[in-house]
Structure formats: structure tokens, C-alpha cells
Amino acid sequence: MSKFIATALAATMLMPIAARAEGQIEVLHHWVSQSEVEALNVIRKALEAKGFQWKDSAVGGMSGANAQQALRARLTAGDPPGAMQFLGWEGVQWAEQGVVRDLNDLAQAGGWREALAPQLLPFVTSGEAFIAAPINMHRQNWVWANKKIFDDAGIAVPKTWAELIETGKKLKEKGVVPVAMGDEPWQIGIIFDALLSDLNGPEFYQKTAVDLDPEALGSPEMVKVFDTLREIRGLVDDNFVGRDWAVATGMVINGEAAMQFMGDWAKGEFLAKGLKPNQDFYCFATPGKVTSFQYLIDSFGMFTVKDETVQQAQVALAETIMDPQVQKDFNRIKGSIPARNDVSVDDFDDCAKLGFQERATAIEKGSMQGAMTHGFAAKPEFASVFSDVAAQFFVGKMSSEDAVKMLVSGIDNAR
């Protein structure tokens, strides 16, 4: 009898907790570093201000592959999280499996399609359905440079890759490491992606990195890309193996190295030291005939769930993410620019302003393209062939011709 009373008592005591848990949403993401978390807290707080609960499920590492694996296990078990951070084609592929909630009603009411660059839509829509809310846009093809080194050597910002390589050789003679980087395939991939478009134009990038056209893949233009990549290898010191990208950025900051090719998340490292763009360091796009803007976005998709309270929280989360003010606050911390085109970046730093401005031009010129290395061009089974070949070429002694052959046969094998 007393047991029964105890149970009943416990049940009533649990009631308020259950009531508070209403409208709780679990968010599975792979943002675990400090600046990422601070930015994510902008969304979390805005959601909580609307009276919903945020249940955090972070799985870091391997550029989100660990989180993907966790998600796959969760979906297989029939226990999906309310929301998930998507990179590249992930959202679209899940949508094709019919497990992602369609947010089209919200998108139409909120004018999302109009607010986003048309190049972005393939990653957040699937057929008629709107499947993910994009929060930010990073640009991958930036060069970060130590201004003092440039000024002391009397060199200007290079306008072509040939100039850049010449500059690098000059700096190397002076005992400066021209290019700071690590040997991770994605760090090499950033340079490779940029070369594809900068040397041969955005059409070539489309043909190779997106359409996987065999002719373009085996063309002399591709050989040229590898030749240039080999020259860049000559500008990197021999201790680059296992070097974290942020350590490489540190080398540029303290004057050990002159330049780094890295997405705009590197900016945070400079700003954290109190350095100012164009006063202490330079930020400029990789030099090409047509200035390219190779982007990657983070978006959040919602899974189909039965629980109505979670459904309500999903709506609230999607609206929060697309809120212009949230996008502004989030991206000022994250180092990226808002996914929405219609958010003013007047309060942002000079690099972000430059990026915002170059994005507008790139949209017109057709040189705003998804960054392959981060999964925004070819599907992963193909993109990984590019990154394998580029990385193997970069660290080894392969000839450019052999690399091209390997690329062509590798892509064929993955088809």
C-alpha cells in the first residue's frame, strides 16, 4: 500500500517537470569548438526566449562524420533527433529517404527563397519541399596574409597565381615560410578547389567538380592545376604534417609564415589577438581571372516526428534560424556572413564586408560555386576521389600526368 502511495506521489511530483519539457527539441550537431559554441548559443537563447527547450547533442570530429554516423544509428533505431545540422548534400539525401520534414509553408510565409542566393537552393530544397534552414555562409577560398611581411618585402597583394608563386619564392629566400598549412586532405583540397576555378574559369569548375565530365577531368587544363599545386608544395615548410590549421594561422600571425589558404573561420584567430583587417593583416580572395566565391553553408533540417510538442519546437527553431537579427548576431561570432542576402553587414569587419560584396558580383558572374572539399559540389563518393588524389599528389612525388590519370580512373570506379 505504501508503495502505491509512494508511486502516486512520485508521479504527481514529476508532473511539473513533464509540463516544462513541453516543446523540447533535441539538436544534433558537430559544433564543439569555442567560437562555434558561442555562435550556436545565439540560436539557443533566441529559441529559449520563445519558451522552448533546447536539448543539446553534440558529436564532434571528422568534419561531421561522427555526427552522421550517430544520426544514421538514431534513424535506424527509429529515434531521430528533432533537428540536425547538415553539411553538403546530407540534408537532400535524407530528404530523399522521406525522413525530413517539409518546411515549405514556413519558407513561403517567410519569403526564404527570395532571401537566398539561387545557387544555394539545391542544398536546402528537394523537389518542391524546403528541407533545411541555412544559418550562415562561409567562403573557402580566402588568403590570409601577414601585412608586415608583405610591406617589409615591398610586395603587393598578388593578382594571379603566377604572381603569388613568384612572391612566395622571394619570401622563401628571405627565410620566411611563404605558405603555412597542414597536410590534412581538406587543407590541400581548399587550394585544389581554388585552382580549378582560378586557373581555368568557373565553367571548368562546373564541368569537373560538379558534372564530372571525363573530358575535362583528363584535359591539359587539369594537368596545369596539378602543376601549380606542385609549385605551392614548394612554398610549404617540411614540418607541415599533422599541423592543425589554427597552428598554421598562428604562424601567419606571429610572422613565421606569410600566407595561409583557409576559409573565413581563420579570421577569428586574428580578431581574437586584437588584430585588424587591412591594418595588421590582409584578407583577399585567391587570385583568378574571375574572382570566385566558393561557399559552404551550415543548415538545420527537421526530422519527421510524431510528438506534437516537438513539431511546434521545430517550427520555432526554423523561424529562429531564418530571423535576420539572429543571422546577424550568429555570423558576427562565427566569422561567416549571413546565408540571407538581405541582412546588412554594416556592423561586420572589413573582411566580411569584402566577402559580402564579392558574393554579389560572383552571383552575377556565375562564379559563386559550392566548395567541393566541404561537400558542396560533387557527391561525397566522387569528392573523396578528388581529395584522395590531391592529397596523395601533394605529399608524394607523383607526376601531374599520373595524378590526372588516377583522378579519371578513380572517378570512373566510383560511378
Binding site: 558537430h30 564543439v32 569548438s33 553534440a58 550517430a70 544509428a73 533505431a77 584567430e269
Partner: protein
């Protein structure tokens, strides 16, 4: 006399060589630990300015405090503390279950042999070599059907299941060396299956229980793959939390916190090794190696 002297001199030289070798190897083995300890005691700026191996110029315990109770795992800034508790909740039942089941399996496979017992043992043993990456998805489905998805009990079930293979191996090899007369005498006295297990077999198997527990504890505590696949958020074991502290995509690595966190995560296994290390070797001596 002179001969005896030179002989003892030779012996002394031999012992010096032995000690020398042991100490040199010990120093090499300690090198990574040294790097981890000094790094965890340095401020981050000192590390990023290129000092990786030397002693800290500024000594600080901030990284340890941060790793234990302040570091952010996602947007929850709780440090490793709650995940440490999760891991304990996972490892204790899983070790007890798998060791218990292994003990009784080993007992049956040696003292109550039935036709095909060796084949059963072979089936179990092969399971030790399963590459776990291959079975994640069917396991996830199974846990979902059982209603155990995303929970610590689910994780306990997975670890206990795959642990059976190894624990059965340990106990079987140990019990093979126990004389059959022991069980036969008990049977003559009228003791049954379970009675013999409890009062005859178990009391003699303390050493192998220690071995089994140490092995299972190390494997389960350090597991990352199952933890990341079958739990999430606040249910995660410590290795998943550690991974979240250590792995950084677009931010700067907090090397000092990483190292402190790694050492905190290793404390339970280190304690087990140091406290039970003596029994470990004793237990292995007692029979596990008579494979």
C-alpha cells in the same frame, strides 16, 4: 678468491645492465605522458607560441578545472563530470554481466561438456574478432526494436553481449586447468549444477575474475564507437565527451584542456591497473595463459 671476486663483479655489471635497460625503456614509455602533463599545465598562448615539449614557463591548473567542470561540450558547459558518471553507470553493470556470463559459460564448457561444446566455444571465440564498424547499423535497428536506443542500458547490453566472447575465453582456459576431481567430489556429495559453481568453482577463480574485469573495464571504458553510435547528448559516455572537447572543426584547439581531459578520462583505468596490477599478473599466472 680472485675468481669469485671477478664473478661477483660480473654479476653486478649484469645487474646494472638489466636495471639500465629497464629504466631507459621506462623513460621512453613515459615520454608521451610527460608531454601530456606539461601541456596540461601550460596556458594556451604558451603552447601556440610553439612550446610543446619543454617545462611550462607559467604553471596553471586552469585546464584541469576546465576539463572537469567547465569545458563546453556543445552548448552545455558542464565539463566531463556528468559523463564520468555515465561511464561508471555503463561500465560497472557491463563488466559484472559479461564477467558473470563468461564465468558460467567457461564452467559449462569445461566441466559439463556436451557434444558440440568445442564448436560452441569456437563460435563464441570468433566473435572476439568482429570489426565493430561493420555491425553498427543492424545493432542500431535491434536496439530500436528492443526500445533501448539512445540509453545507457542499451549501451550496457551491447558491451555485455560482445564482452561474452572474451570473458568466456578467459574462464574456459582457466577452468580447463582445474582438476575434474574437484567437481566430481562435490557431485558425490550431492551438490548440483549451480551449487558446485557457487561453492566449488567460484572461490577458486578470483585471479581470473580479476583478469576478466580488468580487460573488460579497459575495453568498455575506452570504447568510443558504440558510445557515439548508441547514445546521445547527456547520456553519452566520457569518451564521446572527450572527443567533443578534443575534436575541433573550425575553431582553435585547447591543447591544455585536451590533455587534462584525456588524463581525467584515463584515471579510472589507471587506478585499476595500479591497484589491481599485481593481481593481474597473478591471475594471468594462475591460468589464463595456459591457452
Amino acid at each position: 678468491m680472485a675468481e669469485a671476486l671477478s664473478r661477483s663483479g660480473k654479476a653486478r655489471l649484469g645487474r646494472m645492465v638489466v636495471y639500465g635497460c629497464l629504466i631507459v625503456v621506462a623513460l621512453v614509455y613515459l615520454m608521451p605522458l610527460w608531454v601530456m602533463v606539461v601541456t596540461s599545465l601550460k596556458p594556451l598562448d604558451e603552447i601556440y607560441s610553439g612550446s610543446f615539449i619543454g617545462l611550462p614557463k607559467v604553471l596553471t591548473f586552469d585546464a584541469w578545472r576546465a576539463a572537469w567542470s567547465e569545458a563546453c561540450i556543445g552548448t552545455e558547459c558542464t565539463g566531463l563530470k556528468p559523463y564520468f558518471v555515465n561511464s561508471l553507470l555503463m561500465v560497472i553493470p557491463a563488466v559484472v554481466l559479461s564477467t558473470g556470463i563468461g564465468a558460467i559459460n567457461g564452467y559449462i564448457l569445461t566441466k559439463w561438456k556436451f557434444p558440440g561444446a568445442n564448436f560452441v566455444f569456437g563460435l563464441l571465440l570468433f566473435g572476439c574478432f568482429l570489426p565493430y564498424q561493420a555491425i553498427l547499423i543492424p545493432m542500431a535497428r535491434t536496439l530500436g526494436l528492443l526500445g533501448l536506443a539512445g540509453s545507457i542500458p542499451g549501451l550496457v547490453a551491447v558491451h555485455a553481449s560482445y564482452g561474452i566472447c572474451f570473458t568466456t575465453l578467459f574462464f574456459r582456459n582457466y577452468f580447463v586447468s582445474l582438476p575434474d576431481e574437484l567437481t566430481k567430489a562435490a557431485m558425490v556429495d550431492g551438490a548440483g549444477f549451480f551449487r558446485i559453481f557457487w561453492s566449488v568453482i567460484l572461490p577458486t577463480s578470483i585471479p581470473i575474475i580479476v583478469v576478466s574485469c580488468i580487460w573488460q573495464f579497459t575495453q568498455i571504458w575506452n570504447d568510443f564507437l558504440f558510445g557515439v553510435s548508441f547514445t546521445s547528448g547527456s547520456n553519452s559516455p566520457i569518451t564521446v565527451a572527450l572527443n567533443n572537447i578534443v575534436n575541433v572543426t573550425t575553431g582553435r584547439k585547447q591543447y591544455n584542456v585536451d590533455m587534462a581531459a584525456a588524463m581525467i578520462a584515463a584515471i579510472p583505468t589507471l587506478v585499476v591497473y595500479i591497484v589491481a596490477g599485481r593481481y593481474f599478473v597473478r591471475g594471468l599466472t594462475a591460468g589464463a595463459v595456459k591457452g
